[in-house]
Symmetry: C2
Subunit: 214 residues, 2 copies
């Protein structure tokens, strides 16, 4: 953390990607300036929430003038580390790995997915969305040669621990984990767990709350 | 919301599925009682955070005695609406829909996925993980006949709006949206957006922070 930045709560950080997406959409529409009020209508959050979140970064907005969309987009991009080069791999070329390889959003955010890895000889040597599927035997050497810092785990629960240990030993520093098991990593490695049923449970809570409010 | 429950912040709600998973694992291991300290070690969060979160629900724990795992699991299940019956469908039987249909976690949490829907004649009539793939022509009638309350959208960005409007018109009240576009819904409908690249961006932020702290 540079001295110019205050420590920002992870709760706010988790909201930044959504700001980043909306600001990117505004830029694509050639909208250069936006008030917290207009942004709040588009994003369906309160203007006060927006001001509070974005003031964490020193306050880009000017009273009565609004935010400079491009500057804010760039600043959030820097804060999120999207201006750093990220080399990523996907481990597991099943349906989930396939869907992730087809996901256009990763490259757009600066994450280069350079390979998928699988044990299935029928898949090794093929390409998904232009990304080669490689043998698990080449996992460590590929990570080292390409300076891969991110591994996206689309493997089964049973294989998660072994794959985690292998990619970390080879130098991976960040894991995006889809395998529905919480994993232990050393202090210099970060994990972001994607638990798809957690989203369904949050949805279920909100459904119940709506029903009770009616 | 019943009068016995206080309004709980969505931030806390979003943490409940993780408690629910861990408590379920404890039950499976036949562990019947756990202190906030032991749970904090397992979950890698502070004991004070755990007490604070779980006290939102009236405080199940007893000083020096720990939590009753089964009771806490049941209570959180009720709060999350997992004891209500949920009938779900997946719209889109591509790789993502396929991966979601294979996801064992949904049924385990009480979400019955009764059908997938697709336009591809080659897929219609087949089964994925025992779940039939049906024609999009039958979408509305199926939703009405089976009292489907949740639709999981695994369709393209371009098709999202049309599919959203159709499922809501037929009676769906909750949407799990994987299509990378924020959608507008009426007041009595809830949406949970799953933006996979948001998780990568949060990971990227944490990678950058670790690097700067070293």
């Amino acid at each position: 953390m540079s001295q110019n930045e205050r420590k920002i709560s992870l709760v706010v950080i988790r909201r930044l990607p959504r700001y980043y997406r909306y600001l990117g959409d505004l830029l694509a529409q050639n909208i250069r300036r936006i008030s917290s009020k207009d942004l709040s209508v588009r994003m369906n959050v309160t203007a006060s929430q927006i001001r509070q979140d974005l003031n964490c970064f020193g306050g880009f907005g000017q009273q009565g003038y609004g935010y400079n969309v491009e500057e804010l987009y760039e600043q959030i991009g820097i804060i999120l580390g999207l201006r750093d080069a990220h080399n990523a791999i996907i481990v597991g070329a099943g349906h989930l790995g396939h869907a992730l390889a087809n996901h256009g959003g990763f490259a757009k955010r600066g994450f280069r997915v350079n390979a998928l890895f699988d044990v299935d000889a029928g898949k090794i040597g093929s390409e998904i969305n232009g990304i080669p599927v490689r043998s698990m035997d080449d996992l460590e050497s590929f990570i080292r040669e390409t300076n891969t810092d991110i591994a996206i785990l689309a493997v089964t629960k049973a294989n998660t621990k072994e794959v985690t240990d292998r990619v970390i030993a080879a130098g991976v520093k960040g894991l995006l984990n889809f395998s529905y098991v919480d994993i232990d990593v050393p202090d210099d490695v970060v994990v972001e767990n994607v638990h798809l049923s957690d989203s369904l449970m949050t949805l279920s809570y909100q459904l119940r709350e709506k029903k009770q409010n009616q």
